[in-house]
Point group: C2
Chain length 562, copies 2
């Protein structure tokens, strides 16, 4: 094992040298993509460092990346496979020996046997896959149903080495392993949520709830990478804080709640995939969940400042040590991410360890009993079911930090060099239309909108949300009733948002004379650094479909509604 590791690390070292200056460097002579070496490293080194529990892990968002990573190796394999079709018969006990304690990893699917040793480092779900090696992979795919797609089958096919010996088959079938389903303890959820995937659960806030400033907790969009940890005794749930010198301090949630000052802030969380379906529709295919406009919600969060906890744990928060560059977080289900240390300790950054949402204890789907809230950053950094914090000189080594949540150029396919791209932290300016409604001139009469926009006829009211990252306030929302030919400024609603900066979405509304409204209504927002949204989706296209912020265009139906 240590040899493996050494070889990979030295290879990795050569890779990173001067990479900033050389975005498109030649591939490794052995024809192995840097990403593979890189992730082999993340696989062998960091998890031990981060002491992640050895449990079943998989990432829905990440799976799509596999095909690309595997390509270089698979082509070699394919050649091999074609030259010598593997007719070899293999006994079950032989497969069982190639388990996680072995140095070559086999699995079977149907009656076919595969040696996936070479691929294991690339598993987007991390080392969890070792739980499946030596046995039947199908069992796990029946739980993580996200694997049940052609692109995953194709990858596996590259590693075929033989067939199960008929003597071990029962009525022509290989035995299924008996594995506990980690999702069976997932909470009950509101049936008004718009479900995008069942296991893990990913669901949008319904459109009729996107018009309220504070999203009801049970209507908050759900973005789970795995199952929901079932923490019975929230007060005694433990959080360990580790500093760069290795010193650790442990807290129970009760201690955190009782011994530190409470802060309540209002903050919007948005998934990096919000509006991904629009990029797919207006540009090209993207991988990952096809979210519409509802992977975003706004909440009043109550907790203690991360800054205060880190200070209590012994970190010099007002003069960070040289090696305190990032703060890493690990959740109870092994999800990991990190944020820059400067953000973590910023007095006006409002980074909280949260135990309440909208005045009630956190819902299980949203991190009970303790989660991070890093306002102004992509929601993927606000780690739920928090059980470990590590102050470090490097980013989290989780694939959710180093892989999934990055963007690439419009020209770049999935064969990218992941460590060239910057992890998404603060998000760009965003907006969406959440409702378009007809208003008769009688109902409109004397309303504020009628006054503001000087309307005395039948009108169309358009409303929506706008927000930006980093606490940058929305300064203007331009809305076009005629597909971008002409614009007017929407009214920005002065909702009260608690916190040092503008962490909440800004609701907006505008009305047009019905006869001025053409087929498409369009919105674009401008934030206080005067960044604006891109007009076309092509300009910011990335194969992951992250951070879709192209102007939101909505077709107006003939009766004026959406």
């Amino acid at each position: 094992m240590s040899n493996w590791k050494f070889r990979l690390q030295s290879a990795y070292a050569t890779v990173t040298k001067g990479c900033r200056h050389v975005p498109h460097k030649p591939r490794d002579p052995r024809g192995i993509s840097h990403s593979r070496l890189y992730h082999a490293k993340t696989f062998f080194t960091p998890l031990s460092r981060a002491r992640a529990p050895q449990i079943l892990v998989a990432s829905s968002a990440a799976v799509a990346g596999i095909a690309a990573l595997i390509l270089s190796a698979s082509s070699q394999r394919k050649a091999l496979a074609e030259s010598e079709p593997p007719q070899r018969l293999i006994r079950l006990h032989e497969i069982h020996q190639h388990n996680s304690t072995s140095d070559s990893y086999w699995v079977y699917h149907g009656t076919s046997v595969y040696d996936i040793t070479e691929w294991v480092p690339n598993h987007p779900g991390g080392e969890v896959i070792l739980r499946a090696v030596g046995g039947n992979i199908e069992t796990y795919w029946n739980i993580f149903t996200i694997h049940q797609k052609q692109e995953v089958y194709d990858i596996l096919e590259q590693y075929l080495i033989g067939q199960i010996d008929p003597r071990d088959l029962v009525e022509g079938k290989a035995p299924m392993d008996d594995v506990d389903d980690p999702f069976k303890a997932d909470p009950q959820r509101s049936d008004t949520l718009v479900v995008r995937s069942e296991r893990p659960c990913n669901a949008e806030t319904p459109e009729d709830q996107l018009g309220t400033f504070i999203t009801p907790s049970n209507q908050h969009y759900v973005r789970n990478h795995l199952w929901v940890p079932d923490v019975k005794d929230g007060d005694n749930h433990r959080l360990v804080v580790e500093l760069t010198d290795g010193t650790e301090k442990e807290y129970s949630v009760a201690e955190i709640r009782n011994n530190f000052k409470h802060h309540t802030i209002t903050a919007t969380l948005q998934c990096s995939g919000n509006r991904r379906a629009h990029m797919t529709a207006e540009a090209r295919a993207t991988s990952g969940l096809q979210w519409d406009i509802g992977a975003i919600s706004n909440t009043q969060w109550t907790g203690v400042r991360l800054r205060d906890i880190l200070h209590d744990a012994g970190l010099s928060v007002d003069m960070l040590p040289e090696d305190a560059k990032h703060v890493q977080f690990v959740g109870a289900e092994a999800y990991g991410a990190s944020v820059p240390a400067i953000k973590a300790v910023d007095r006006y950054g409002d980074v909280l360890l949260v135990f309440e949402m909208n005045g009630k204890p956190l819902m299980r789907d949203h991190g009970f009993p303790l989660r991070l809230l890093c306002p102004g950053h992509v929601a993927a950094r606000s780690v739920k079911w928090l059980n470990r914090i590590v102050v470090s000189d490097e980013e989290s080594w989780s694939q959710w930090q180093r892989r999934d949540y990055k963007c690439f150029g419009p020209n770049e396919g999935s064969k990218v060099d992941w460590d060239e791209a910057t992890s998404i932290q603060e998000t760009p300016v965003q907006s969406a239309i959440t409702s378009i409604t007809n208003i008769s001139k009688n109902r409109l009469a004397n309303s504020e909108l009628a006054k503001v926009y000087g309307l005395e006829e039948d009108a169309v009211k358009v409303a929506g949300y706008a927000m930006s990252g980093g606490g940058r306030d929305i300064v203007r929302v331009d809305v076009s009733p005629d597909d971008g030919k002409t614009w007017r400024q929407a009214c920005l609603i002065d909702d009260e948002s608690k916190g040092s900066k503008a962490w909440s979405w800004k609701r907006w509304e505008i009305a047009f004379a019905k006869h001025d409204v053409a087929k498409h209504v369009v919105v674009k927002a401008i934030d206080e650094s005067y960044n604006c949204q891109p007009e076309s989706y092509e300009a910011t296209y990335n194969f992951k479909g992250n951070l879709t912020t192209g102007w939101h265009r909505v077709r107006v139906s003939d009766d004026g509604g959406v």
Copy 2:
């Protein structure tokens, strides 16, 4: 006077009420635009508060705004003028009485006499115009030559009240006043700078200097709103710091240099008008200096932290008092601006009081002996020739804070409600092409670019700069050799930039096979919050032409050069 002020302030009060919710509120019943009332207020209140010296002031960038502001009043005037052509003859001594001590202000131009009382509050140059009232305005326009344009003459014409009595004319001419030319002490400048206006001096860094990481001091672009103060004894130049409770502390530049820790950071300053000429060319007419790509430069600045000075002056910098929301700055020539207090005291904000650039004392054009450096913000906030700092609950009342440096919607003409718009602070992501050069395959051979981009034929090398506001680093630069059809990622050059965040521009370069290069090469940059530049100029068009960041398109000449 106090009546005036009271009336204006109460009117203003009604205006601001709920304005956030009502961007397009009905105009004041008296038909006076809010902006006029608003600026009347800035004229009578703040300057006294800020104790700005009573000296000659004018703003080049602002002049263009006059016509709009004046419209409502002028139309009334015009009606008047047409109904009763002013044939009245007026004696010079009568004009002299209507000076700054009077409550109605007259000037003459040629042999015509004007009562400009109603307009004075709108003078973009502020109260300075009072220096001219009671006399010959022509004298001042010969100094501030920027006034010598039809739009300014037209405004004046609205206020005609009569003609100078022939008895006071010498050979049919009225006497010129004798006024000291404040520009005569302006420094000598490099003749390689690209001059956009002489008085005040505004000049670009030449293109061949935009490719160096650190701009030579004498090649740094010059952006002066007025003349250059002639400070003989820099060490004894005084800086007064005033806190919200009115307490003041005074420092000499020598004390600042000797008693506080020195810091050196590398930071790019960019004028909000940089690339304005591109918006004019690709969208519509804009007001203000028509800068190309050279209103930007990068420098090593040395000074002390504003945070340390404010702390020494008695401000609680780690826990700002409620009423410390902005920090205002006043220069020796009366230029004024402010930045948010959070930025001013941020440990990682690197806001400095600077006395050195590139290891030498500040050049006079750049603020000798002391200037503010607010990295990551528009250069207009980095006040030069600093002599006063005021911690306040409100922004600077100068027209450079409340007027010139704002943006509006593409649909909004010059009749805007200035206080609806947010002052520009942090700037959006930006990039420009600074050079396009042919490289023969022989010269290219074995070069790094050849390796990176796999080139073995004659090539075209494209280089430029990219930057963003708020210290947000540039994470990717996409360059298209064919007017946006296809893209490749440029190499980002790893120049060493000192400071807590990415305050410097990022130089980039890329090469294409000559046969792949079409008529236009295009660049767009992406910053670490994944904001991108707008494709079209129309999307971000604003009549002031501020913050032009549309994709920079450069036509490639047939010989491959720019």
